[in-house]
Each structure stands twice: as C-alpha cells, then as structure tokens.
C-alpha cells in the first residue's frame, strides 16, 4: 500500500480500526482530540461504536465492560485524564482483560499545560493505580512506528490479556508524517473463551472479577500475573541501539526526545565525537539487555527526557553501577534543543562531569 500523509492522532485512530478495534470510549482533552474526533467519524462506518462518556472514569469503565465482553476496545486521553483512568486500569489489569490505552502526554502536574512532555513515565511504568500489576508501555518516536505499535498493541493485549499503553506527546499527536499500514507479524492468539458473551444455557457463566477476599487466593492470583509479566519481559522487549560498540558517551532517550537526540548525535559526529544511543521502544518491559552492549570504554551515560528525570531510575537499575549516569531534561512543555544536548555530551566526553 502507498504511503499517506496523516496527522499523528488520526493515524493512531486509523491504525486501531485497521487492527479491528470496534469500540472507543473517551472524554475530550488537548492535545489528543483529533483521535476521538476521527473515531467518532470512522468507527460507525465499520459497524463500531464511538461514545463520548460523561467523564474519564466512566470511559475507562466502559472499556472494562467492552473488554470483558471480548471486544477490541480502546480509549485515549492526555496526562490528567489518564490519571483519572487509573482506577479502571488497575481493575482491568486485575481482571486480566485486554485493551489499548493511548496517552498523548502533556506537561504536569495537575492540569499542567498542553505542550509535549514525558513527565508521565512513572505513571505509565509504575502503574498509577493500586496493586501489583504492570501494563505493557510502547513509546513510538515516528508516526510510522506509532501506527505499527498501535496495531501490534491490540494483539499483545489479546495474547497476554493485559492493558497495553501507547505513550506519545503533543508533537507525535499533532505532526504529520507519511505512514503505511502494514499487518503486524502474525501471533497465535488464544480464543477469548473467558469473555462474558452469554452462556446460552450451554456453559457455566464466565465471571470478570478483580475481588479476592481470601488472601491466599489473591496471592495465587497476583503470582500468576507475575508469571505472565515474566513471559512478557522475555518476549516483548523492544529497543533501538546505535553505535554502542565504540561510543565515548551513550545517550538514552525515547519518543520525541530521541529524535532531538539523533540530531545532537549527528552534530557530535561532525566534530569527531563518538556517541551511541539506546532508545527504549517498550518503557515496560524496560530494555535492560541493551545496556549490556555498552562498551567498556564508554565514559558515561546521559539520559535525556522531557521531565525532571523519571526514566533515569530504570537506566540506573539497568546499568547497575557499572557506569556513571547523568541527566539532562526540559519539562513543562519545553522540548530540549540539540545544542544543549551536545553541550552535555561534551561535558561527559571531556571528563568535565
């Protein structure tokens, strides 16, 4: 299929529908509004339902219901809206239901602003809701990658019966790039024999539940979830690396920031500096293994984020004390500039830090 030029938010909607998403429940918030707008126009054409809920809490619980009935379902929002959805996300994780949640991140805390930010890293990877649970978190950097990952997210959700988050920001949502819709690699998806589709008097009722009063029963349940998360860690980690073999400095960045970092690396290379990159594509599971590929001669790691430093925790866990880890970031909707990143890289390369 030929490439088409699309706005990020609309491309996410188109990818979801191509992946068989039939239901969308949401509540408006900038900078993701083009996505529900697109779904409201396009879902009815494929026999689906778009519904603007009365609140984010209502929307995520509608997702809970539709997922429990076995449907491919999605919601989207931006940071404070995702905060409101956390209760539902925890329930969905506890009840082991598949769904896709898109967060087009804006600056925070509170209502914050509407410009690009990455200050929801903790919220995305640590779980803003209660309990021992994880969500798979994808952080695409280009619109093509966004489209690919949204399509795959539905399969991953179904395969593991888990909520999957796709995290972008206002830049990903608002910009236009050429995209091509390609089928994700075929997965062997289990039948949804747990869905509440009606017994028709022929089987025992299926029950969707996250309440376990008996602590032993709950522990068994949580440990089973943990086993599932281990399998996901083995199979679903995604990342991109660049020039780790002989880098003096390795930069770690994801999403929008990784694109700015690539410009910064090109500038450094023009001056003869050797700089590597680790770009996590899954924020959870975090690509720990990528850090094993860092060369002994590397002087330090620079984490660049649009936050005051959240992913840096995972970078430190992954590097496990083998190298010093430094941080550079802008926050509140400010995007780091290549020259500022170059200056930080030079400080580390030159032993100034």
């Amino acid at each position: 299929m030929a490439k088409i030029l699309m706005k990020g938010n609309e491309a996410i909607g188109a990818a979801a529908i191509k992946a068989g998403c039939k239901y969308f429940f949401g509540y408006p918030i900038t900078p993701q509004n083009e996505l529900p707008e697109y779904m409201s126009r396009e879902l009815p054409k494929v026999g689906g339902v778009f519904l603007q809920a009365e609140s984010e809490v209502a929307a995520i619980n509608m997702v809970y219901g539709a997922a429990g009935a076995g449907a491919r379902v999605m919601t989207s929002s931006s940071s404070p809206g995702i905060a409101l959805k956390q209760e539902g996300i925890s329930y969905i994780a506890g009840a082991e239901l598949p769904c896709v949640i898109v967060n087009i991140v804006r600056g925070g805390p509170g209502l914050g602003g509407i410009q690009p930010a990455q200050s929801d890293y903790y919220q995305s990877t640590r779980g803003g809701g209660n309990g021992d649970y994880r969500t798979v978190v994808y952080a695409p950097a280009t619109l093509q990658e966004t489209v690919d990952l949204v399509m795959e997210a539905f399969d991953v959700a179904d395969q593991y019966r888990i909520p999957v988050m796709v995290v972008g920001d206002g830049m990903i949502g608002q910009m236009m790039e050429p995209v091509e819709f390609k089928e994700p690699k075929k997965r062997n998806l289990p039948p949804k024999d747990w869905a509440t589709t009606g017994t028709k008097g022929q089987r025992k009722p299926n029950i969707i539940n996250s309440l376990f009063i008996d602590p032993k029963e709950l522990e068994d349940h949580v440990l089973r979830l943990e086993e599932k998360y281990k399998v996901i860690k083995q199979n679903e980690v995604r990342y991109e690396t660049y020039n780790l073999e002989d880098a003096d400095v390795v930069v770690v960045a994801y999403g929008t920031t990784s694109r700015v970092v690539k410009n910064a690396i090109a500038k450094c290379e023009a001056e003869g500096l050797r700089v590597g990159l680790i770009r996590p594509i899954t924020l959870w599971p975090f690509p720990d293994e990528a850090f094993e590929k860092i060369s002994d001669k590397t002087k330090g790691i620079l984490t660049v984020e649009m936050s005051t430093g959240q992913m840096i925790d995972d970078v430190k866990i992954a590097i496990n004390g083998r190298k010093p880890v430094y941080f550079y970031g802008r926050t509140g909707g400010m995007v780091p500039e290549p020259d500022a990143i170059v200056a930080e890289i030079k400080k580390i390369a030159g032993g100034e830090k």
Partner: protein, 179 residues
C-alpha cells in the same frame, strides 16, 4: 539535500496549508518529510506557524531550530523567526503586509508583495501560494508539478476548478525570483 522551513503568519493566511502542500509534494517525490504545526490556546487573528522538513535522509527532530528558509507572512512572524534562519539561508518576506526590512545581512532576504499579486490574480487567498512559488524557485526543494499533484489530492473534485488559479499564483511567485 535537507530543507528545514519555518512558515509563519496569522490565522487564515494559509501558512498551515502551504506547509502541508510542501510536505505532501515531498512525499510524492519519495523524500523523507515531516510537518509540525504550532498548537496551543490560539486566538483568532493570532499567529500560526509550522515547521516542514524535506530531506534525503530520515527526519530526526521535526522541530526546526536552524531553518534553511523562513517564509513570513506578517510582521510578528518576521520579528520572531528572522533569528532562526541559518547563515546564507533564505528569508521570504511578504512585503504587502510587512514594511520592515530584514535586520541581518548574513542571510538572503526576498521581498514579495504576495497579497497584491494574489489580488491581481483575483483571489487574495492565494498569497500563500505566491510565497510558496517564490520559495520553490529559490530552493527547488520539490518540483512545482509535485505541488500541483498534491493540490489535486487535497482539493478533490469539488475544488478542482481552483487549481489553475493556484498554479498561476505559484508561477507569479517564481517569476519574481527569476527577475
């Protein structure tokens, strides 16, 4: 080849569509492209701008901080973006609405009375296309034919009758540069 362009003006001057057409045309030619709009709590009559990259290489950051060219349609845009243009870069100024000259002498400034030309052509709305025509003549970032092909797709059948007018506007912009 990499063109990094800032297009700016006030809402309604067609700076977003001008950028999208360049992006679309670049895509038609198989180049790597990105289009990034400013967004925010904008008000009517406020400023609007977009960043366009057309490149032979994959696009890194879609944010243009070092512009190879800036197309400014009104005075606030000139004030804001003149400093973004790289040394020896191009600054295209809509002299119909901007009575000020460029302050820098290390860039190439071009003064294009885009609104007057558009009105001469019978439709003030094509001022953006006059500017785009001038820009394309200067940089050859994409072929004019590709822009026309993009226009066909954007306009569809109902607005196809507007294509000759837009083509004329592109040509008038180009003429000014050739002179």
């Amino acid at each position: 080849m990499e063109e990094r362009v800032i297009m700016a003006g006030f809402g309604g001057q067609g700076v977003m569509s001008m950028g999208q057409l360049l992006t679309y045309a670049g895509m038609i030619e198989g180049k790597n492209v990105s289009w990034l709009p400013s967004y925010g709590p904008e008000m009517r009559g406020g400023t609007a701008n977009c960043n366009v990259i057309v490149s032979d290489k994959p696009v890194g950051s879609p944010i243009v901080t070092e512009a190879t060219a800036a197309i400014v349609m009104n005075r606030p845009s000139l004030d804001k973006f003149e400093s973004f243009v790289v040394k020896d870069g191009n600054l295209l100024i809509n002299s119909s609405l901007i009575d000020k000259k460029a302050e820098r002498d290390d860039i190439n400034a071009y003064y294009i009375p885009a609104n007057e030309i558009a009105v001469e052509l019978g439709n003030g709305k094509v001022a953006n296309m006059v500017m785009l025509g001038a820009y394309l003549e200067l940089t050859k970032a994409v072929k004019v034919e590709s822009v026309l092909e993009a226009l066909k797709k954007v306009f569809g059948k109902t607005k196809a009758h507007l294509i000759p007018l837009n083509e004329k506007a592109l040509e008038r912009g180009a003429e000014l540069i050739r002179k």
